[in-house]
Amino acid sequence: MAEQHCIYPDRESVLVAYLYGDDIATVDRVTFDTHIATCERCRTELADFRDVRSNLAQWAAPEAARAHKSTVVTPARWWAAVPVWAQVAAAMLVLGVSASIANLDVHYDRANGLSVRTGWSKPAAPSIAAVAPVADTNATPWRADLAALQKQLREEMRVKSATVVASAAAPVTMSDADVRRVRLMLDESEQKQRSEFAAKLVELQKDVYVQQQYDIARVYKALGLMSTNTSAEMASQRKAISLAFPPK
């Protein structure tokens, strides 16, 4: 059927504005009201668009919270407020101090390439060691302090590790009350797991039942559709036959 012609000015915009009740003056609304009373095309289109809108309302987005990856931000680190140049300067300072503590020795020559080593890993060189201490001590008096500090730290670490080993080797003794408490906790945990398992099983059964019902409903629906199509097909065939062989 040919669509009825409509010459309402700016028809599409007015129709959309009327449909949503947005950006339309009262006078325009009243005018369009009068128009659709007589224009079948606009009336039908408006009704169809309203149907479309009610169908659109059925489309729900999946639950966001269920699968939400936490977007909530955590407080910024304190150093985020420090300017970048200050952070770089601090990093350089730390690097410099670490290098001097480690007595870093960076050396490059064509034969050996780049070599980096710390002062503590230097091989013993008696001839140099015999001469160097006096000069070294004068040049960097803090080295002696550092060596003493290192020695002290090693001593403390040795004592500490000995204590840890000793405590690990000591037998663990539990009182009866502790044992009972642990048993109780184990029993509770087992009980909880059993109930969770049972709940899951029930849920699974329910899901299977729902799926079955859904499949059955679909099959019925498909069968209904098929039967309607078959009836229509038979009717049209009957009509064709009666046209081809009209009753005498």
Binding site: L15, V16, A17, A64, V73
Partner: protein, 186 residues
């Protein structure tokens, strides 16, 4: 006490992270729904949602309050969706895994709703999704913003950066396509 978006933004700019978290909690659902309906994939919609808030957080000091906070957020999300669509270079297709969906749908049904109703609703949802996937991006976005987010024509025009009349045309054309497509599936 309930703060307005703008008050929470001001407090966030002042360094109150908790205020920004409140904005996230308030707007994550609409932004996720917008992203999901535009790009049609749950996982990617979640990524877009997350990225929207991260960008908003980073750019918060630049928010001058000329527009509503929600409009500003929608703009960021839509730009990300647009980038996503371009990157994918394909028509967005809403994915609905059959096996998972129906069980979830049935579990979420109203107690008074029969299985037939569930099937009906499910079929209609799929039909709407398919019809929406047929729309060009501009029309789909206009319809989503109008139907599901209740934005005015003017707000949509501001977000899309186009004249108001164009928004109306996009809506009209989009609805006409949906009318045809949904008519076919009935």
């Amino acid at each position: 006490m309930t703060w307005s978006d703008e008050e929470l933004v001001t407090r966030s700019i002042g360094g109150d992270v908790e205020s920004f978290n409140q904005l996230v909690l308030r707007w994550e659902r609409p932004i996720y729904a917008l992203a999901y309906r535009v790009i049609g994939r749950e996982e990617d919609a979640r990524d877009v949602c997350q990225e929207t808030f991260l960008r908003a957080f980073r750019a918060l000091s630049g928010f001058r309050g000329q527009a509503k906070f929600s409009s500003w957020l929608y703009r960021i999300a839509l730009n990300l969706c647009r980038d996503w669509v371009r990157r994918q270079r394909r028509t967005p297709v809403v994915q609905m895994p059959e096996d998972v969906d129906i069980v979830e749908l049935a579990a979420a049904r109203e107690p008074v709703e029969s299985i037939e109703d569930v099937v009906e609703r499910h079929d209609l949802t799929r039909a709407v999704e398919k019809a929406m996937a047929k729309l060009p991006e501009e029309q789909r976005t206009a319809i989503i913003l109008k139907e599901y987010h209740g934005l005015t024509f003017q707000e949509i025009a501001d977000l899309a950066g186009c004249p108001l009349s164009t928004v109306k045309t996009r809506l009209y054309q989009g609805l006409a396509v949906l009318r045809r497509e949904l008519g076919k599936s009935e």
